[in-house]
Subunit: 321 residues, 2 copies
């Protein structure tokens, strides 16, 4: 069994964008190599490898599946950055910012196809893996669409929000784990429990992200407190605040959403605390974390083998940045 | 055996975008249904079905492959239209024009994934089909990149141009035919000859397109004569003209490329005729047509069964619009 740092190192040693992508046309492939070269936590491929190792030594099919999820994930980042007009990713210029819009579109497209090319190299269960991967990829697109739709709406419910982040973020984590299981010969209930573990872990992680953006320690995160508030982002905090606010508080929130004053973040945080949405959010993180750990309990594998996955989950959720 | 009109009707009867795409999120799927609903010649899926019928009655795998190529083709049209800033497609507003840039990107992305979802439904030879489809999809992206690169260059050779149009256009026709063969159990040499037939047919068709844009009969095509000349598009005509021009003629061409006068088309056409690039282009169309028909001769299937494919090829190449 290997820990996250060990598998991360193995993945980085083997995953070689210079070898995956041809040299020419340079304007197509240089952006692909660039975005894969500026880092990323590689959580998804490592989850795939860890799930695979639950069932035996990591095999070639798991490696190919792990490449597929990392390539697919980066493809979505390239296109999301265009849609979000994001100038930076991991502190570096985004592809459309550095190379232009058409490069962003086309390099993303070809990276998605390379994801499928990696997946198609598996020796077993290709059809099962393809069905899972396609379903997941469709859901990720749907999640991105809902995220954009929600920006135009003022009546998003908690349920709709949870569904959106599940689609946009969690299902790919879940898919990574299940692909690791399938390529390891782990079928049926075990594979499904690992999928549920990934989905709930992803939800807990994303909700914690909302929490930390507002209530985290900026010295630890290195991020500005309240970035989501400044951007009027529809987080679970804002949705729940509008849910439980009285008429006066609702007006205060709406006024703040339209304002641009220096105390916008501070005033919104005060309202959030008054409305106890910080507590509510922590409870939700706890709820989905517990579900995730329960899912992992239910996987019919000796507990000792689950240690790396549990440690990674704890690392992702205990973080205070 | 079925003719093109018969198979086109069968395809239109079965291919139902309303059933392929879910209802929600509407902003994601409505553009997909829209673009598939505004027509298109469906040449690629019909080629797939025709190739399949060479080997026996059309089977379910061929239908799934035919959906995959049509969905993939439309995905590339959506993204190409963004890159080309095209306001219209088939006389109707393009997706990014009608629904916005983000819809264009995301609806294209999801349509590509639906192409893979169709392909993954085949009962046999999934891996072989995936390898072919992925390789083709990558080449189509490379062709689009080269097309954009060439717009910035003044030293594109005929060989580079032929390679670009092969990648951008012909390989998907070739792939459609080969997928029809593979799903029909036609392997090895027959499948490869059909691929070569499609590639050469595609080249002849595309080069003829260049010819007709300049020298076709506008009454038959319904198009403005010289659209490519007005757009300074690098067609085989312009590339060859610069190849064979003397210094004075080269200067005339370059002056015309920078001009915007009403007689630009007429003057360029006169130069093209003086330099005999009209003849050169017709010879090239003839050369690749002959290669295509020779490829079809080499397919080890009774001639009578090849009639629908040969008729379709003749229809595509005899057209004077």
């Amino acid at each position: 069994m290997h820990s996250f740092p060990e598998l991360l190192k193995k993945f980085e040693d083997r995953f070689n964008p210079e070898a995956i992508f041809p040299g020419m046309p340079a304007n197509l492939y240089e952006p692909c190599k660039y975005i894969l070269g500026i880092g990323g936590k590689r959580v998804r491929p490592v989850l795939c490898l860890m799930a695979n190792e639950l069932f035996g030594p990591i095999n070639e099919d798991a490696w190919n599946a792990s490449y597929a999820v990392e390539l697919f994930h980066n493809f979505t980042l390239i296109h999301d950055d265009i849609m979000d007009k994001a100038p930076l990713r991991r502190g570096m210029p985004t592809i459309h910012n550095k190379y232009g819009l058409t490069s962003g579109i086309l390099s993303g497209d070809v990276m998605n196809i390379f994801a499928y090319q990696s997946l198609a190299k598996v020796s077993n269960s290709l059809q099962k893996l393809m069905e899972l991967f396609n379903q997941t990829a469709i859901e990720v697109c749907e999640g991105q669409q809902l995220d954009m739709d929600f920006e135009q709406r003022n009546d998003v419910t908690i349920e709709e929000y949870i569904n959106m982040i599940a689609l946009k973020t969690s299902v790919l984590l879940a898919c990574s784990l299940k692909m690791g299981a399938i390529t390891g010969g782990g079928m049926g209930d075990n594979a499904n429990k690992l999928y549920a573990f990934g989905r709930n872990l992803g939800l807990a992680f994303q909700l914690q992200d909302d929490y930390l953006d507002a209530f985290g320690d900026p010295e630890k995160s290195g991020k500005q407190v309240g970035g989501d508030i400044l951007a009027n982002k529809k987080t679970i905090l804002l949705i729940q605040a509008l849910n439980v606010a009285n008429e006066q508080q609702r007006q205060q929130i709406n006024t703040l959403l339209e304002s641009d004053t220096t105390d916008k973040v501070e005033k919104m945080l005060t309202l959030f605390r008054t409305l106890k949405v910080d507590e509510y959010c922590r409870e939700q993180v706890h709820y989905y974390s517990e579900l995730a750990f329960k899912n992992m309990d239910d996987v019919a594998i000796p507990s000792a083998r689950k240690e790396p996955l549990l440690q990674l989950a704890q690392y992702l959720l205990m973080r205070d940045k």
